[in-house]
């Protein structure tokens, strides 16, 4: 145990993903040593992100202010919608410069073992958008692993009967992988080679 505030910092750091007790201590002692302005910049960045960044009420991407940058951009093609698991996947797709439509973030994938069913994902909100917007094509860009594929299949079965064109990014992405880590070229090709899903 360390003295009050130091232990509190170690505890808080230790609750972050991927940071074990040893790393938490190392980071805490590092922050103790750095110049006060460096530590304050980190503290401000954390406060800023919590105060100024919210989820876009339309697509659930991260947003500053009301709608996210993509939803409020009139030059985007409003007929195409790319469905992803995580806001980080938007960054990955954007890097390919292959997609000019808009997005919808599910915030996860079907994973009954972790208690994630359709109700825990932004599926109802996705269906709501189909009424409000002029969407004609949906591209399912969930991760190419078991849960991502199951989610894509679930959505395809839900959306196909509504008369939309539903496509899945082509295989060629490393199986079992994470969209976030796919390189631009591979992901770009996968988007280009997307195919209609049978449901």
């Amino acid at each position: 145990m360390f003295t009050g505030p130091l232990q509190a910092l170690v505890d808080e750091l230790g609750r972050l993903p991927g940071i074990g007790p040893k790393s938490a201590q190392r980071i805490a002692f590092h922050l103790l040593k750095v110049a006060p302005e460096d530590a304050m910049r980190l503290a401000e960045a954390i406060v800023d992100v919590k105060e100024r960044i919210t989820l876009c009420p339309r697509c659930f991407n991260v947003a500053e202010g009301d709608l996210c940058a993509i939803c409020s951009d009139d030059r985007r093609d409003g007929t195409m919608l790319c469905v992803v698991e995580d806001p980080r996947d938007i960054v990955a797709v954007e890097k390919t410069q292959e997609f000019r439509g808009r997005y919808h973030v599910l915030h996860g994938a079907l994973n009954p073992l972790e208690g994630v069913g359709p109700d825990q994902l932004r599926v109802k909100e996705l269906l709501g958008r189909l009424d409000d917007e002029a969407i004609t094509e949906i591209i399912l860009c969930t991760n190419p692993n078991l849960e991502g594929e199951a989610t894509a299949m679930y959505l395809a079965r839900l959306l196909k009967p509504l008369g939309l064109s539903v496509t899945r990014i082509a295989s060629g992405l490393p199986v079992g992988g994470d969209l976030e880590y796919a390189d631009e070229l591979t992901l770009g090709r996968a988007l280009e080679g997307r195919r209609e899903v049978d449901a």
Partner: protein
């Protein structure tokens, strides 16, 4: 493929031990029961398959009073030295590395260390439930191709996901649950059928070498047949659909590759119910020899053979036949009794109370370092 040196720290009863088997031929590990000789084979088996050859839980592999075991082996693969290491904590995942690179799939280990195990509980292959026979097939599939390794893992995960949905349904599925089940059934239909097809063709491939091995072990020519029996007929998705009302009520998945079996027969007779214990033992050994032969054909180099206490279970004739059937390559053999005269050990190591004696030039070994038996010719070197 051969093990040059094996190091154990806090593994089973070994606080710290180093073991250098004969690099090309046969090493005999002698000692009374409970002395720790099987633990040496278990350590090698762990490195190759990430599982105990005795089916032991992971925490019992760690020496009591310590929180983690470490097993390391330097192997020689096509003349190249490869380092395989595994850290086994009492709880939490084990970490395994090949040449300091983390290993994520069992198939990645296949190039560094490959084993075939013969153990007294092999009789369970014939006498026991279907799980052991499915595992026998899957072990070969997993070691053969990374794709099949991924397939076996995927089927297992789909089954666990489906089980979670059935638990959530609590016997009364609404339409939302049904829609989710449809998706998992579809996945299981595809992956499960693919796995059944792979197991079927493997069973067919094993039939001929198993029959040959049986004939030489038992001294009589009798065809051994391996027939894979699916738990469903026709389309798996359709079968899952028909079984769903029952499955939902009982919260189980009643059809699929996890309910299949491998039927074994000796001539026209099913071995489980219509063979003597001696015949069953020979069939079990023949199955091991057959899969070993297949693996030898797949790989540039023969897997290391681990023979745990096989002589106590066999009469002298069959023991001699088994030794003569062993293909060339590194063999580690444990025995509590005198090995039959046909055994030509390149090295003999005595194991007692977590200590190894008879290991030449091993400064790290506690206890004496006297060579108990010198090479007596043969042994493949």
């Amino acid at each position: 493929m051969a093990i040059s040196t094996l190091w154990l720290s806090d593994f089973r009863c070994f606080a710290d031990a180093e073991f250098r088997p004969d690099p090309e031929g046969l090493t005999v590990l002698r000692g009374p029961n409970g002395a720790g000789k099987t633990s040496i084979l278990e350590a090698v088996g762990w490195l190759a398959t990430q599982r105990s050859i005795r089916g032991a839980a992971r925490d019992v592999l760690v020496r009591s009073g310590t929180d983690r075991a470490v097993v390391r082996a330097e192997t020689s693969v096509a003349g190249r030295a490869v380092l395989v290491e595994s850290e086994i904590p009492v709880s939490g995942p084990a970490r395994t590395q090949v040449n300091r690179q983390p290993v994520r799939r069992r198939s990645e280990l296949a190039d560094a260390l490959n084993v075939t195990v013969f153990a007294p509980n092999d009789l369970d292959l014939v006498q026991g439930g279907p799980a052991g026979r499915r595992e026998y097939l899957d072990d070969v599939l997993v070691a053969r191709h990374a794709r099949l390794d991924a397939l076996v893992t995927e089927v297992d995960r789909i089954l666990r996901q489906r089980a979670a949905v059935l638990r959530q349904a609590g016997g009364r599925p609404d339409s939302a649950i049904a829609a989710t089940l449809d998706v998992w059934d579809e996945r299981l239909g595809a992956a499960g059928t693919e796995l059944a097809v792979e197991r079927e063709s493997l069973a067919a491939e094993l039939t001929e070498p198993a029959g040959r091995a049986y004939e030489r072990l038992a001294g009589v020519a009798q065809p051994v047949t391996l027939e894979y029996r699916r738990s469903w007929t026709g389309d798996l998705v359709a079968a899952l659909g028909s079984a769903r009302p029952d499955d939902v009520r009982r919260q189980v998945t009643s059809v699929g590759p996890h309910r299949d079996d491998l039927d074994l027969a000796l001539g026209p007779r099913p071995t489980r119910t219509h063979a003597s214990q001696g015949e069953q033992r020979c069939v079990a050994l023949a199955l091991r020899l057959a899969s070993h032969e297949l693996r030898r054909g797949d790989l540039a180099e023969a897997p290391v053979l681990l023979l745990d206490d096989v002589f106590s279970e066999l009469d002298a004739t069959r023991a001699a036949a088994l030794v003569e059937l062993l293909p060339p390559g590194q063999v580690l053999l444990t025995t509590a009794v005198d090995p039959p005269p046909v055994v030509h050990a390149g090295r003999v190591v005595t194991v007692e109370g977590g200590r190894l004696t008879g290991v030449p030039d091993a400064p790290g070994v506690s206890g004496a370092t006297e060579v108990i038996a010198a090479p007596s010719g043969g042994g493949g070197s």
